[in-house]
């Protein structure tokens, strides 16, 4: 497992950012940055160096779906793996997120096993494609 990957965790609730960050640390990913919405996440992403984006959807300011669209619309970031970690669970929303180019979708509340599986699945797909 590559533990040098740099993650960006975006959620407006500090507790959720902390839970995801701690969990990533448990998985061996110690390089984790945080942002509280799309507006604060985008400059971090544009600076470069982030390998994996985990974002909430429903956030004040720029929501996660807009952040995803901004990422896919930026040639430098277009191929960044993006996992939506959200309480939004309507079928139309999941389809909308898939059409916007999300790589994985985890609904809250989630289990450690689910989050681990989704991250690993996305990473293995990227490795296979590389």
């Amino acid at each position: 497992m590559s533990t040098g990957l740099r993650f960006l965790v975006v959620d407006d609730f500090s507790t959720m950012r902390r839970i995801v960050k701690n969990f990533l640390n448990d998985l061996g990913y110690n390089n984790v940055q945080e942002a509280d919405d799309g507006n604060t996440a985008l400059p971090i992403l544009k600076t470069g160096g982030i390998d994996f984006l985990i974002t909430d959807w429903n956030m004040p300011g720029m929501p996660g779906l807009d952040l995803l669209k901004a990422v896919r619309g930026d040639p430098a970031l277009a191929k960044l793996p993006v996992l939506l970690l959200t309480a939004e669970a309507k079928r139309e929303q999941i389809v909308e997120a898939a059409q916007a180019g999300v790589n994985g979708y985890v609904v809250k509340p989630f289990t450690a096993q689910t989050l681990k599986e989704k991250i690993e699945k996305i990473l293995s797909t990227r490795t296979a494609a590389a």
């Binding site: 609730f13 500090s14 507790t15 902390r18 839970i19 701690n22 959807w57 429903n58 929501p63 309480a87 939004e88 669970a89 309507k90 079928r91 139309e92 929303q93 999941i94 389809v95 909308e96 898939a98 059409q99 999300v102 790589n103 994985g104 979708y105 985890v106 609904v107 809250k108 989630f110 289990t111 689910t114």
Partner: protein, 217 residues
């Protein structure tokens, strides 16, 4: 009136009294109708006044109060979650250190009684600290009592708002369906799915995985 004059001119007392009674009855029923109409208007005006007072109280005091109370709920739950995470952060290294030292000693052929005794003291100390942290985690869950009470209060207020809105719609003759129809079909951010409330929501991760697989992801 002509009938009355004719009855008077012909000196027909019985006919005169009959027509006079008729006239009085007509006048009486007209006055009664006026009284009914005026009292209905008065009732409506009083209802509107009562409703206006309720709306004023809701908008001016109760709703801002409710928002403040819900902010407090967010703050309490956030504090409890961080407190719990802090206690976990303090416990994990103790568990890790105990497990690591136990593994080292198990593999160390030179481990003597002194080393084992020292480890037992260390393990006991670590376990006691973890136990104390777990008690704190348990106590941190007390937020649910407070937040539950606050949320119940806000729930009651929302019931009152619903009643006022219903009354308002009744006064203006707006059927409920018209209001409901304007919301249907819009994709909006609903937040967490709520059993019995959220429509078209997928609650299980396995359903989402199936949906995503169907979309080629």
């Amino acid at each position: 009136m002509r009938g009355l004059n004719a009855a008077l001119a012909s000196n027909d007392g019985a006919r005169f009294h009959e027509l006079l009674d008729q006239l009085l009855r007509t006048r009486q029923s007209s006055i009664q109708a006026d009284v009914v109409r005026i009292s209905a208007h008065l009732h409506e005006a009083l209802s509107r006044f009562r409703m206006d007072s309720r709306i004023a109280a809701l908008a001016g005091k109760d709703m801002p109060d409710a928002r403040q109370r819900l902010d407090h709920v967010v703050s309490l739950t956030e504090k409890a979650a961080h407190q719990t995470l802090d206690l976990i952060d303090r416990s994990v290294p103790l568990a890790d250190a105990t497990a690591r030292r136990a593994a080292e000693l198990a593999k160390d052929p030179a481990a003597d009684v002194a080393a084992l005794t020292a480890f037992l003291a260390e393990a006991r100390g670590n376990c006691e600290a973890v136990r104390a942290n777990l008690t704190e985690v348990m106590l941190a869950q007390g937020f649910q009592d407070i937040t539950g009470q606050i949320i119940r209060g806000v729930h009651k207020l929302i019931g009152e708002v619903e009643t006022v809105l219903d009354d308002l719609m009744n006064v203006h003759g707006i059927p409920r369906e018209v209001v409901e129809n304007t919301i249907i079909g819009r994709i909006k951010l609903e937040g967490p799915a709520v059993p019995g409330v959220s429509k078209n929501a997928v609650t299980a991760q396995s359903d989402i995985d199936d949906l995503m697989a169907g979309l080629g992801l």
